[in-house]
């Protein structure tokens, strides 16, 4: 029972696994290929990427790449081996597809709490390729990549979040501070 939409979604998934763009991952639900979960990492070298993280073990600070105390947990081992212990914002989204895909865009929405001029309070995204500039050529990877670049490149002229838009235009420092705040929140959110 494979419709063109489903076939195409399978392809998108395969492509995403074989050739994943940086900082993006996504997968459909087990029982429903029309509903996907995705995660976008904040782009590097932006307020969205979180900055350095200090790892504390048993009350002892461990410098990046430094020696671990004996009997450290395996998780810490992984952390130590990562080239840069930068834990960027990890923002979760859902993508809901219809049988009209790829002729119609999916409905994309952020699950994590966001503070961005083009993202509504409920998580909906104001992005042209998701509305009138949609093309059937775009696939899941392309969608997620566009959203990722939207994060550090907002368009204050079509504000979905007026406060964020205003802050972005007038008070960059405050804006960056708020961004870091939600980045940190994204680590702890389930």
């Amino acid at each position: 029972m494979s419709t063109p939409a489903r076939k195409r979604l399978m392809r998108d998934f395969k492509r995403l696994q074989q050739d994943p763009p940086a900082g993006i991952s996504g997968a459909p639900h087990d029982n429903n290929i029309m509903l996907w979960n995705a995660v976008i990492f904040g782009p590097d070298d932006t307020p969205w990427d979180g900055g350095e993280a200090t790892v504390v073990v048993l009350g002892t600070a461990v410098a990046e790449g430094g020696e671990l105390p004996p009997k450290a947990s395996p998780l810490l081992e992984v952390v130590r081996l990562m080239p840069a212990s930068r834990l960027g914002g990890t923002f979760k989204l859902t993508l809901q597809f219809t049988e009209d895909y790829p002729n119609k865009p999916p409905t994309v929405r952020f699950v994590s709490r966001m503070f961005h001029p083009n993202i509504y309070a409920d998580g909906s995204i104001c992005l042209d390729i998701l509305q009138n500039q949609w093309s059937p050529i775009y696939d899941v990877a392309a969608i997620l990549t566009s959203i990722q670049s939207l994060l550090c490149d907002p368009n204050p002229n079509s504000p979905a979040n007026s406060e964020a838009a205003r802050m972005f235009s007038e008070n960059k420092r405050e804006y960056n501070r708020k961004v870091r705040e939600i980045v940190e929140q994204s680590w702890t959110a389930d």
């Binding site: 195409r8 002729n103 119609k104 059937p136 050529i137």
Partner: protein
Amino acid sequence: MDSEDDMHDANDLESVDDDFYSGDTAMGNDEGDDFDFVDNESDDSEDITYHRQQQNYTILSEADIRLRQEEDISRVSTVLSISRSSACILLRHYQWSVSRVNEEWFADEEHVRKVVGLLEKLVEVQNPRELTCGICFENYPRDRMTSAICGHPFCGTCWRGYVGTSIRDGPGCLMLRCPDPSCGAAVGQDMIDLLASHEDKEEYSRYLLRSYIEDNRKTKWCPAPGCEFAIEYVIGSGNYDICCNCSYGFCWNCTEEAHRPVDCDTVAKWILKNSDESENMNWILANSKPCPKCKRPIEKNQGCMHITCTTPCKFEFCWLCLGPWSEHGERIGGFNACNRYEAAKQEGAYDESERRREMAKKSLERYTHYYERWATNQSSRQKALSDLHSVQNEKLEKLSVRQRQPESQLKFMIEAWLQIVECRRVLKWTYAYGYYLPEHEHAKRQFFEYVQGEAESGLERLHQCAEKELQVYLDAETPMKDFDDFRTKLAGLTSVTRNYFENLVRALEAGLKDVGSSNSEATCSKTSSSKSLGTKGKGGKSKATGNNSRLAGGPSHSLDESNLWFCHHCTYANPKSAKACQMCEHRR
């Protein structure tokens, strides 16, 4: 606007039922896009009285539209040496103006191609046997893939889905481009025909047809509900009245119902006002008072002056002075007299809100006066229209049988009803005109109301005669001798009323510059019966108001109304002292 045009406009009515244009409109010369006028051959059987000399619009049926569209496309395709599909895209982009297309194309072909998406075919370098569809990412042999001029290949299924979605989304499908977002290559009808399903192709073709009328500045659909005709209009000829084949008359400029002699702005304001919420507010202001305590508007519907506001307020007060009830009693002059009010009024301590109430009341009354009459004439016209249809369809035959007259002798009936329909329309809009006439322009107002009154009473006489007196002859078992008299009378009334309305139209179009001198002869000689100039809501002013163009034949000077009375029979203005008319000796 010269008098010749006035003649035509007052006779707009005649085109209501004429079959000037059949399905195959005279295509005539194909010079350019503009049709100056179409020589119309009026059907002899419908030839009433006046013959329209010049038409500035053409009525198009669906077949006509298709034909014209095909011709335009062929023309562009030949001149520019491009495919028909490309010509179609170009034309649509430039609002179906062949001249504009030529102009723009020969000015800068490259720019036009880019804007519209008509790229020139690139030379293909490779010829691989298999290609990957850009949408479903499957591989197919070359011959199963299609692409626009840009070469981006997509498979048949994906194309069908893409095109189908676009068509179902609406007329935007006419501007379809290649699915690749970086490419602007246009997808025209030739590709649609190749790739889309049958229903989608039909839908596309329907949108294309509609586009020919909607995107073109010279054409519009007839606004009548259910009418399938379109009108092509030559701008610049001044007269905006269009009468469609479906017998709906409308104004080209604003697409509202035909509203000469009133201008489009006034009409728009009037229609807005009728639907406006502000009138409700005015009513509330005029007919209710605010509770002194909680300020909610209260309407007094009966009873004494002791008002108790509703919960939760429950304040008790006197309606007249809005003072607390506890302060009322016998010493204030009893419950019904309210001395305090009189005193306040005499002292001039008129409340601001009181003043506003008064003004709102006046304004509302004034509006109601005009609206009522506008609406009444509107419904009267509707009734007249249906009467006209019943006369045409059944009554004429019946009358012909009853009175032993051939139907051709009974044309005067139709003429009369057509005149009534048209006059009701004009009269209706003159009320909207009257509402917007500035109050301080007394001379204009008097003149306007005078001319309007004349026209209205004439119309009432005509309408009554056509309605009621006809019934006598319809019901008669045997032919009646005075039927010929009836015919003369009705024809006479028709003609008189037409003159009155011509005057009215002329006066209004001239901006009421007191040009009433030409009407005197017509009215005096043709009136066959001298019923009293009955008025409907004119307040009996028709005798006392108006300029005295009849007397002096020159510029009006305001007469002292109270010193004159106008004779019923010959309309001479007699001094008040005269008991009988000085001209015709009829008693007052």
